[in-house]
Symmetry: C2
């Protein structure tokens, strides 16, 4: 059924310029027409957008959805202790205490739980790095959320028993890609990337296999790089090179790659990334919470590296809220450089939308004819958003998750007037809370 | 009419420990009883808090409410240019383009507009630094919001015409205090502080008059201190001393004083503040947005300086959202120190509540028998707040303004199920938007 959005007060259009009083027609998964007045097609569902802002949905370019089960846990741990004390025990609980059906169910549930949070804050696509993906993708499909599963691969450091042996991983991942990956032209709701976890957890053999496999199936790659000072030292000690230099030497960097974090880069590494066409998924709140440092965003922007924005997992954030992530991204650079002029609302808005689409290889990220219909309707008629001087700045610095009223993904209304239309949100919350109260299943 | 809050799932009690399944009785402006089961008094209004969190209302220890009219304006300016290009023009518009009735009306309106935003994000008390206070206080009284007006005094730097001559200021301020100030034991909704704007805008004569007058009327003082590197250099050049050293030499520092910002302090200045009993109002998001730097919060905490939290004005934030301010305060210190362990959720929660009460000299800031009934009911049964591992961390890192359902101030329900009960919110928004569309009145 076509959807006609009528009389949008403000449309955040291509290149994020603001248009006023405009209609948007959605047919199938795509935006087919944008004009000042569009005739209602037969059978179309009409959305009255009078007084509303229509904006592209946010693309959360890096997260770990399972961490939604760990919200609000210990907030005083650095990365290594945090991994050992907060992250790994969840995997161990799943592997050792739950039977297969329970493990599948909890995976499906966290996909829904995190997916609901994402949609309810205007996000239309998430890139999720994890090991257990089939039930996560089932969650996305039931919810109607676009998602990229970056399947974790790892053969060092992680505690034994948490992952399969390399040969088994290779086979499983190829099977996952064959069964689930679709190319962007299919307007797929889900797609599969390769997610080698980090340089200190992946051997050279594994990294070379990742590059070959991604080329073979034409898919994307995402890897954590230079999140901590410790990691840089560790890689230098092992290979005599800084992390990005090492990736460059391996021939790993290319436009299909996104590097997550990039907190500790030197000038040469920034140039190597820029030359390679690789992208960066910047996760400012997570970098702050774990005390990892502040990424050289301004230096990367100067070299035109496409920077996207991610919340990272909820155990190091603890929200999947791209509104807050945008403003913290801007504020953090202003204070780091002690110069308010270095970055503006429009820069971080682009990170959260068009550049996210580049990382996720989706035909979305802004509202234009021929683009995927992944968008949000926001109600600016509220005290904390009044008056309106500059709509992009209003969205970046003032808007909050609850201001999003309607979310459309892949041409389908998944949230209307803040009610998720595709699944029963209360049932999901009830089941997660019940699981949390059951001693054996408790996370 | 008494109010009985029944069956709170979680109560954030004294010293912020969590109690479960508890009743809270409110009589007059105060909390009269907290127990596991309280008999309903005759004629009491009952609030069912099953499944909810009851927490102290937030105290926004430093803001400028008029700046709510400037939300989303230019976001690339440093303090001086921002004052000249964004802040002063509003004052000039009010002084030159509006007649007296219009100036009074717009003042009343911004008080309501900002007050609604504050209440709708769980804030029960604001400290507002400004020149035009009578109509602001009328707004607070109509809205039922507790407020401290820190009346700006200034005799240097600010453009001519924006403020009266010193003698005229002195007289006006004394009149304001006599007419409006009430001591804390009266449970007053509004009170009056002295607000010398900053060391570079106030002469020594003015600062000495402030101290004398505050003692005479037993009221508080708030002043901006060391917000920028420029200010420190400027004061050193003029007086041969750093700002806090100069204040100490003047005999300005005392427990009745709160110093706003304190971004650039050396060790000696931190010790001087600690010894004096003065308090600090920390405004992390504003310091970030204007590129001013990161306050030495950890060093101040080590010396037991009572640190409160403020949003500052909406032109440098752009929200009056204490949830977001708390988490940004924590994250900013973790990243500054590159150490996640330096500060925790409970530290910033205390800044936003009990320490705010110390700055505002109100008998509030936590929920206990005999304290003012200034509190909020939060609904934790939402995807972005599920599951609950640690209630204080859930509030600090995950909760958002819209999760606040009910707000009680001074024993009166001012918001219920997110509807402001005291004034018509839509009328306020309509009037502000209409004013904004009128060329002559446009800000």
């Amino acid at each position: 059924m076509p959807i006609l959005i009528k009389n949008a007060e403000y449309l955040v259009g291509k290149h994020n310029q603001i248009e006023k009083n405009i209609d948007i027609l959605i047919e199938g998964a795509f935006i087919s027409k944008i004009a000042s007045s569009i005739k209602t097609p037969v059978g179309a569902e009409i959305i009255d957008a009078k007084g509303k802002i229509v904006a592209p949905g946010f693309i959360n370019s890096h997260t770990h959805l399972y961490q939604n089960l760990l919200k609000g846990k210990d907030d005083r741990l650095s990365l290594t202790n945090w991994a050992n004390d907060v992250i790994f025990p969840l995997g161990q609980t799943i592997m050792t205490k739950l039977n297969n059906e329970e493990a599948k169910r909890i995976t499906y549930l966290w996909s829904l739980l995190a997916g609901i949070e994402a949609i309810k804050s205007g996000t239309t696509c998430v890139l999720d790095m994890d090991l257990r993906h089939i039930d996560v993708m089932r969650g996305w499909i039931d919810l109607g959320l676009r998602g990229v599963c970056a399947r974790t691969c790892v053969d060092k450091w992680v505690p034994q028993g948490l992952v399969e042996k390399p040969a088994e991983q290779y086979a499983k991942i190829e099977e996952l890609i064959k069964n689930w990956h679709q190319t962007p032209t299919d307007a797929p709701l889900v797609s599969v990337f390769l997610g080698p976890s980090a340089l200190f957890t992946c051997s050279e053999t594994l990294l070379r296999w990742v590059v070959e496999t991604a080329e073979k199936y034409d898919t994307g790659i995402q890897i954590h790089v230079s999140e901590t000072e410790w990691e840089v030292g560790h890689i230098k000690e092992e290979f005599g090179l800084r992390p990005v230099e090492y990736l460059d030497k391996l021939g790993f960097l290319s436009p299909r790659v996104s590097l997550v974090h990039c907190v500790h880069l030197n000038e040469r590494e920034i140039s190597l990334i820029a030359e390679s066409g690789a992208k960066v998924a910047h996760c400012p709140k997570s970098n702050m919470k774990l005390g990892n440092g502040t990424a050289p965003v301004i230096e990367m922007l100067k070299q035109n590296i496409p920077l996207a924005l991610g919340t990272d997992g909820a155990a190091s954030n603890d929200l999947l809220d791209m509104f807050e992530e945008m403003r913290v991204a801007a504020l953090l650079q202003k204070v780091k450089q002690e110069d308010a002029s270095v970055i503006g609302g429009e820069d971080v808005f682009k990170m959260a939308t068009a550049n996210g689409a580049a990382v996720c290889r989706t035909n979305s990220g802004h509202i234009a004819e021929g683009k995927l219909a992944d968008l949000q309707l926001i109600n600016p008629n509220q005290a904390h958003l009044t008056p309106h001087h500059d709509i992009i700045n209003t969205l970046v610095y003032c808007a909050r998750a609850n201001d999003v009223e309607t979310v459309i993904i892949n041409g389908k209304i998944v949230m209307k007037e803040r009610i998720i239309k595709t699944i029963n949100e209360n049932e999901v919350l009830r089941e997660v809370n019940a699981m949390q109260k059951c001693k054996r299943l408790q996370i």
